[in-house]
Amino acid sequence: MQVRTPWYRFLALLLGLVLIAAACGGDDSGEAGGDDGGTDDSGEETTTTEEPEGTPVKGGELVFATESDVATLEPGKAAQPSDKLITLGIFDPLTTYVDGEIVPNLAESLEGSDDLTTWTMTLREGVTFHDETPLNADAVVKHFERMVDPAFACPCAGSVGIIGSMEMPDGPEGLTVVFTLTGPSVSFPDLLAGSSGYVESPTAVAALGDGFANAPVGTGPFKLAEFTPGERVVLEAYEGYWQTDDDGVQLPYLDRLTVVPIPDSGQRVTALQTGEIDIFQTADSATVASAEEEGFAAQKISGSSSTIILLNNAKPPFDDVRARQALAYAINKDVINDRVYEGVREASYSGFATDSPYYNPDAGTPQYDPEKAQELVDELGGLDFTLVCIPTPEADGILQLVKQMGEQVGMNITLETQEQGAYVNRIFSKNGDYEAACFRSAHFIEPDAIRPGLTTDDPGNLVFYSNSEVDQLLEEARQTDDVEERKEKYFRVQEITGEEVPLITSLYDLFGNVYNADKVGPPPPGEPNSLGAIKPGFLYAVGG
């Protein structure tokens, strides 16, 4: 029996803290294989998804397999991919991302004041919860009060805590809520796009108490029809759902969606072959590759996080920019991709996903160039360092390859592994007790998420990087919601970090939805911040 701490806990720790601008990636803890998820809601990860094609048809049912059983279906708490998939069916977030842009969703509009501290939300009219309770200001206010209630113990309490007070100018039955934040926040709409923004039925919460977690009631496209932990969750179309697709077809497309956990990765592919399931989600690159070999279709969702190598900028040898550049030039990410990830991942040269509007493709981040690496090493008169990571097969594979690549250009690399808990404490303790270390970092649509990781003396700056121009640019960029102005500043930050290499991003993590194209239409794009989960309301069966 294998038991390990899920890496998402550490991914979760990282969010809000971390990283990157120019290049940088790592690995904190190894592939979860079965159990991933867990990001907070302070920012949304960006994702790259293949565009769906084909015409959706209404009707039919599908069986969707997940890697792990449900942990929770509560708003604010749902984080791992299986929980996300189901809750995205039962609930609607107040805002959502469409093609990388944030738009109101369950809210009809959300307007910020000039100083970004007061936000006025108007809700959609005529929306009802599955128990026929109407969606109104009262429901929204009760929702956020519940999220910060210590007894509810929400991982989102810190990020939702930015709401200082809420007012209902049209009364509780009205549709307007005015949020006064504790300080200016350009990322408030982004907060509402994650599970913190899923509004639950206040009637059901009052009636069920703690039992709401296993009988959730939302406004989403599906009602929960059956929930047997470890066995299955059955979702049935909610006939009173408010949303239609662009052609005016009533959502959801499916009449029924059954979600089953299949922990064994090989068995997920087998079940797809025997027709016992129609589609499954996975974080395991090898599974995606083997399913494709069997002739199944795979929707690959990349860019929500990546593996990175942290470099200690405050201490020799990586206090010298040439040493950091040398290592960046020495690493061939394609080889890591082929040897460790069956070639299905994508090399990462930025702290942003490639489809983020803030991603600067011309930042000049070092690409594989062994000759330049060799020159720099010669100039330095050699480069000796210790690279530390946790002992997982994934990390081991990366470490061995980096060692080989470094030694080919004259570096001398010592490898060290340390048990995960102690390792994470060591990196987070900020006493700088490392030279180079692997880690995993999340990427967000909201670009301010990179600020702590690069700001001088910020607790989230794990690499001890310091550049006053970067500090200033990042601070200015969060004072405005003007996209063009922000873009300019983040592009400049990426140019600087591309030159100075505070850390090295390695490869974007890959999440896959593997499906039988004879039975399932191309899935909708991956949700931001959801580790590959999709909105099931837009999933359709071929032929209905």
Partner: protein, 324 residues
């Protein structure tokens, strides 16, 4: 009266054993690296106020012995095993009762079928010791013992699900489900087959060697010289005195199978007790872990009690020893 006293003494011992096990489990779950508050709170776990509030909510701020007392008294008085906080707040009792049917069905079917196969095989083998039949059976059993269950599972799935398309590759259909007992039996066919292969091999070898020893005894020679038919000798005279090792192992297997065959439940995605244990440990859902371990402990203890009682039925000497 003597019998009643013996039984009562044993029951008292059983209760003590279960209490000790439950306390040790309680301690163990506290020693697991990682904790429930961190799992539930995620990034908020760095906020001491949030941790304190949650600990108070879950009763984790009380002294350890008080926590144990609250737990065990809840179990005894209301059969309340607590709430599985990391599994959508389901009561642990409900989780266990929803997981038990699959595990119990696998266990019973595997035990009964393997016994039904191994007893005749062992008798055939022992009666014709060292014949070609015996050597084939012994070698076959040895082969089956050597194959790990997961390898057997992969092979059977490949053959019966992917190639022949006869049986489902995974999942569990409840008898009460819409497709009834047929679908139920088909869904458990492969995991039961894997269990049966392993158990049959062990039972056959055990019973065969005990039977061979028994068949050397004088009373068997006596029976033969009286001209009794072979089947009569094997069944009525040799089987009973040869079945002690078999019975012991058979009983222990009941206990261990109630914990679920973790590997098989994982591989076949069967919502049984073993899979619940794995999931709960992964999520640090310590009350669910405690519930599973308590269930296994009680099952072991009860089965061992029954086996001890059966010894007395099988062997008059045990009965007489008890009466002394």
């Amino acid at each position: 009266m003597q019998i009643v006293r013996t039984v009562l003494e044993r029951v008292a011992k059983l209760v003590i054993v279960v209490l000790i096990v439950s306390f040790l489990t309680f301690l163990l779950t506290k020693l697991l690296p990682g904790d429930l508050t961190a799992t539930l709170l995620g990034p908020e776990a760095s906020n001491p106020e949030a941790v304190a509030a949650l600990e108070a909510e879950l009763g984790l701020d009380k002294p350890m012995l008080v926590q144990y007392w609250d737990y065990i008294s809840g179990v005894v008085t209301d059969f309340d095993l607590g709430t599985a906080y990391a599994t959508s707040n389901f009561p642990v009792k409900d989780l266990l009762t929803s997981r038990l049917p699959a595990t119990i069905q696998l266990m019973l079917m595997a035990q009964v079928i393997s016994l039904a196969i191994s007893v005749p095989l062992a008798m055939l083998s022992a009666y014709r010791a060292n014949s070609l039949t015996d050597r084939s059976i012994t070698a076959g059993a040895f082969g089956l013992i050597s194959v790990p269950s997961f390898a057997m599972a992969v092979f059977l799935v490949y053959l019966f699900s992917l190639q022949l398309d006869l049986l489902p590759a995974l999942g569990y259909k409840r008898i009460t489900g819409p497709d009834g007992i047929g679908a139920n039996l088909r869904s458990v066919a492969l995991p039961v087959a894997v269990l049966v292969a392993g158990l049959t091999a062990v039972y056959t070898r055990l019973l065969r060697s005990d039977l061979i020893a028994t068949l050397q005894e004088d009373f068997i020679l006596m029976a033969r010289s009286k001209g009794l038919p072979t089947w009569h000798i094997l069944l009525r005279h040799a089987l009973r005195p040869s079945s002690f090792s078999l019975l012991t192992v058979f009983g222990i297997n009941f206990g261990s199978l109630i914990g679920g065959s973790v590997i098989l439940e994982y591989f076949f995605s069967i919502p049984g007790v073993g899979l619940l244990a794995v999931e709960s440990i992964g999520k640090r859902d310590y009350l669910a872990v405690q519930g599973v371990v308590l269930l296994i402990a009680v099952a072991f203890v009860v089965v061992n009690f029954l086996v001890d009682t059966l010894y007395a039925v099988l062997d008059p000497r045990v009965r007489r020893a008890g009466a002394r």
